[in-house]
């Protein structure tokens, strides 16, 4: 028995197939499932993807946004059922795999140059 095959067969039903192609620098809207008081609802969270880690079932994206003047970064396990949806809002041209330099910038300096050659899907 091939070990890789065995592990992939376990992961397969847990992997999402309908995810868009996400790149670093994209502005995404993530629908986060939140359960409070027995009820479940989807809360949107919008921001810039500043990092992507791992591959396969453990793939994560780090999404940064400025909320009430405070920088907020959330890491999403994109294949998790808690992440209801991921929608690409805007694509940007970046020259780094990790945009950690954005943490040291505020306001206008955090703008990224939009690119139009990649479809929003």
């Amino acid at each position: 028995m091939n070990a890789v095959e065995a592990i992939q067969s376990l992961e397969a039903p847990h992997l999402k197939t309908d995810l868009p192609t996400i790149n670093v620098g994209d502005t995404v809207r993530v629908g986060v499932r939140i359960s409070e008081g027995g009820k479940e609802r989807v809360q949107p969270y919008e921001g810039t993807v500043i990092a992507m880690r791992n591959g396969g079932i453990g793939e994560t994206i780090t999404v940064r946004r400025i909320f009430q003047g405070v920088g907020v970064e959330r890491v999403f396990l994109i294949h998790s059922p808690r992440v209801a949806s991921i929608q690409i809002v805007r694509r940007a041209k970046v020259r780094r795999a990790k945009l950690y330099y954005l943490r040291d910038r505020v306001g206008k300096a955090t703008r990224l140059k939009q690119r139009f050659d990649r479809p929003l899907k």
């Binding site: 070990a3 592990i7 067969s9 376990l10 992961e11 079932i57 998790s80 059922p81």
Partner: protein, 215 residues
């Protein structure tokens, strides 16, 4: 004790439960195993089942082992292991033992050899604190005092020192079964198991201390 199963560690991954939580799991090739010997009170003085795992070429085993396996009409098997049980009644020679012995949610104990780390120092082996790395300190990874002076004039036995670490038999208790594929004899356990990928493991129902229903 009850009869367990032998297997090979295949690697780790994660899956999601109903709540959407990510669960770390270890995938194990558990079996197929065969009953190679039945030990009874009359013949051996105790009751036990010996099972074999991992089919190899005939030339990999010596004649005494092949002769032993021939008694149960088993193929050449590399690993043999015994499980003591109260009564051997339900087992017969040559009987196949697969991953279907377990169900999702079962609690199991896993036994295997831990990763060998060779001759390891105080910090890695016994979690000693290290000394300051700077400000003129020359004590970086030294052990500190090993005891009193002229009285007793020796180091007490059992003093924790550098030495061989790992490569020993380790039991990880009470891991729960997260997934089973009985057709291919695959098991996924929640959590980590000893050794690297390819390590031989024994998976048996958990030995719960104080449970009189067992045995």
């Amino acid at each position: 004790m009850s009869v367990g199963i032998l297997g090979t560690k295949l690697g780790m991954t994660q899956i999601f439960d109903e709540e959407g939580k990510a669960i770390p799991v270890t995938v194990i090739q558990a079996g197929p195993c065969q009953v190679t010997q039945i030990k009874t009170k009359e013949t051996d003085g105790y009751e036990a089942i010996q099972i074999g795992y991992d089919q190899v070429k005939e030339k990999a085993l010596n004649k005494p082992l092949l002769g032993h396996l021939a008694k149960s009409e088993s193929p050449p098997l590399r690993h043999l292991r015994e499980y003591r049980i109260a009564s051997t009644g339900e087992y017969e020679l040559g009987q196949a033992i697969g991953a279907d012995r377990f169900n999702v949610g079962d609690v199991v104990d896993v036994v295997g050899d831990s990763i060998g780390r060779g001759f390891a120092g105080y910090q890695k082996r016994h979690n000693f604190k290290r000394g300051p790395m700077s400000h003129g300190s020359k004590n970086h990874r030294l052990p500190g005092s090993t005891g009193a002076g002229t009285t007793p004039g020796r180091v007490y036995p059992g003093k924790r020192m550098a030495g061989r670490l790992g490569g020993k038999r380790v039991t990880i208790r009470k891991l729960s079964v997260a997934w089973i594929d009985s057709d291919r004899n695959l098991i996924a356990l929640k959590g980590a198991v000893p050794g690297k990928t390819g390590n031989l493991l024994s998976i048996a129902p958990a030995n719960i201390v104080g449970n009189s229903n067992e045995q």
